[in-house]
């Protein structure tokens, strides 16, 4: 098995009725679900009743999905204040499982799922796996972490719903991952894009690529570029797909991209997306970038109303070439909190990545941004690993390369950047979310 070209691709759609529904029908379905959900949270969650009362909104005011703007927002801070079970709409005895993420502040963000919530989650991931070309014949090697983190469990639930074999490897121990991949004949693998890069490199070095039977990679949970995707696809001879999710909403499976890679299709029958202006929270026009906000239309355990994801994206509603009418969110330009303000300019790691790759095949995508403050001035240093393809033993040529990277970064970011060339593999690889920025400014 191997990578399939677009011409030879045959699209499979798990739930055509939903995934190809007309916009009118979808709005009617969403309206019906929203009205029910708002009534449910008003009656069963003290937090929402209080918020709605304060905002002067009654459940009766919400008659269709177009009324969603009347509802107050929910934030991560609200989740933290109501940790762990304060936002449940059902008794704890109805909760089948919990999943969570550890935040930088130390406290967990916990999400609770009823049996039905778990089923919906699995179904959404199964839709995504189908979109990636998987069927019940496939074997999915999952190297996302299992545990409270939603990655491993989410893909596992998806494999179960689809009826394919799940290989629950969890993260770490790359040599063992490759051995099992080969021995069990995995046809697809799921992990973060940065780990996929690492895995691809390791497979190439070990010379096992030819012996693997992979055809697809399901890689998400952190921002990545098309260049990174191409590199993984070319090294492992697979098609890679971007899966998105966040544990508060459900975990992976909120959205996934299709073979056309024109954005990630959102499963809007369960997760209603809004893209709002980050400053005044008014709706953005189609294609305009803003903060992604979700309302869980089907959730029973811990429904979220207008949850602010802090992810920046834009949304497109046109029918996709794959046949789906599900709207597509674009690759994230960053997170409102990953964004670094350097000398007044907003800088995102994804911009650095795109710039590094654009200056030529020579530059490996491994880099780290370090922000310091020297004499009250922000200084951005980008550490870049030197790569065999352009390595020279002449300092003059290396200095020229450094200048070239500095120029490309300055043009892409709009702020001066210092480049530091580093030895290969000296920048830490991560097996979970890649850490691309170190901020030493103590802001």
């Amino acid at each position: 098995m191997a990578k399939i070209s677009l011409e030879n691709w045959s699209e499979k759609i798990r739930d055509p009725e939903i995934e190809c529904m007309s916009r009118e029908e979808m709005k009617a379905l969403q309206s019906e679900k929203l009205v029910k959900q708002v009534k449910n949270v008003y009656e069963n969650v003290a937090f929402y009743r209080k918020k709605m009362d304060e905002a002067g909104v009654k459940p009766e005011d919400i008659r269709s999905i177009d009324d969603i703007g009347k509802l107050p927002f929910t934030t991560k801070e609200d989740l933290r204040e109501n940790y762990p079970f304060g936002l449940l709409a059902v008794p704890q005895s109805k909760i089948a499982r919990v999943q969570g993420t550890s935040g930088t502040t130390g406290k967990l963000t916990l999400a609770s799922y009823t049996e039905k919530d778990v089923d919906v989650w699995g179904e959404c991931v199964a839709r995504a796996l189908t979109m990636a070309g998987l069927t019940e014949e496939d074997k999915l090697h999952v190297c996302y972490g299992y545990g409270l983190f939603t990655g491993g469990m989410g893909l596992d639930l998806g494999a179960r719903a689809l009826g394919c074999m799940s290989i629950p490897m969890s993260s770490g121990n790359t040599q063992r991952q490759l051995m099992c991949m080969e021995d069990f004949g995995a046809t697809a693998f799921a992990c973060t894009p940065s780990y996929a890069m690492y895995l691809a490199e390791a497979a190439k070095e070990a010379g096992v690529v030819e012996r693997l039977q992979l055809k697809a990679g399901i890689n998400g949970a952190e921002p990545w570029t098309d260049e990174m995707r191409h590199q993984i696809e070319d090294t492992l001879n697979v098609n890679c797909f971007d899966i998105y999710g966040l544990c508060e909403i459900t975990g992976p499976g909120v959205a996934c991209d299709c073979i056309h890679h024109k954005g990630l299709h959102v499963y809007e029958d369960h997760f209603f997306p809004e893209v709002l202006n980050p400053v005044d929270h008014t709706p953005c026009a189609e294609g305009e970038t803003g903060e992604l906000v979700f309302t869980t239309l089907s959730k029973e355990g811990m429904p979220l109303i207008r949850y602010r994801t802090k992810d920046l994206t834009s949304i497109e509603y046109g029918k996709c070439e794959c046949g789906r009418t599900l709207p597509r969110i674009q690759k994230f330009t960053g997170r409102t909190d990953d964004m670094k303000v350097i000398r007044g300019v907003n800088v995102f790691p994804t911009q650095v990545e795109a710039a590094l790759l654009s200056i030529g095949e020579g530059v490996a995508p491994h880099y780290m941004m370090v922000v310091d403050r020297e004499n009250n001035l922000d200084v951005l240093t980008v550490m870049v690993e030197v790569d065999e393809k352009y390595f020279s033993d002449e300092i003059r040529k290396l200095e020229a390369l450094k200048k070239k990277i500095e120029l490309a970064l300055k043009q892409a970011l709009g702020v001066a950047v210092k480049v530091k060339l580093c030895e290969p593999k000296s920048i830490q690889r991560s097996e979970g979310k890649a850490k691309r920025v170190i901020d030493n400014r103590n802001l």
């Binding site: 390595f391 030895e423 290969p424 593999k425």
Partner: protein, 146 residues
Amino acid sequence: MSYTINQLSVFLENKEGRLDSVLKTLGAGDVNIVALSLADSSEYGMLRMIVSEPEKGVMVLKEAGYMAMLTEVIALRVPHAAGSLSKAMHAIMETGVNIEYMYAFANGEDASAVLKCNDAEKAAEALRKSGFDLYEADEAYHKVVI
């Protein structure tokens, strides 16, 4: 007979212990160093070496995670006469070949210089025509052990 030889070049970050670690890695691989030069910028350095087995040197260093490569250079025996190195450089430059860098090493009675030119073959030919003595690969790689 070829008068160009392979130099082993290694990229080094300016971090404590990196040079020592390269030397140890080569030592453990039984690769002996004949000549060595370290050029550096403020952030990184370039270690250039003539070693007993250049290909093996690249292999053991790459395995240890270093960025290492082979570069074609010429090794010149510098006669004990005033101005002879200058004469050698002129002989090269007259052919239009550029010298990118050079370093000298002493070797018992002899003084020697390693030269990196943009056209090693042409530079070697010019030097030979002008009567200079160049090391052949086998001779250079096994000259003296540091």
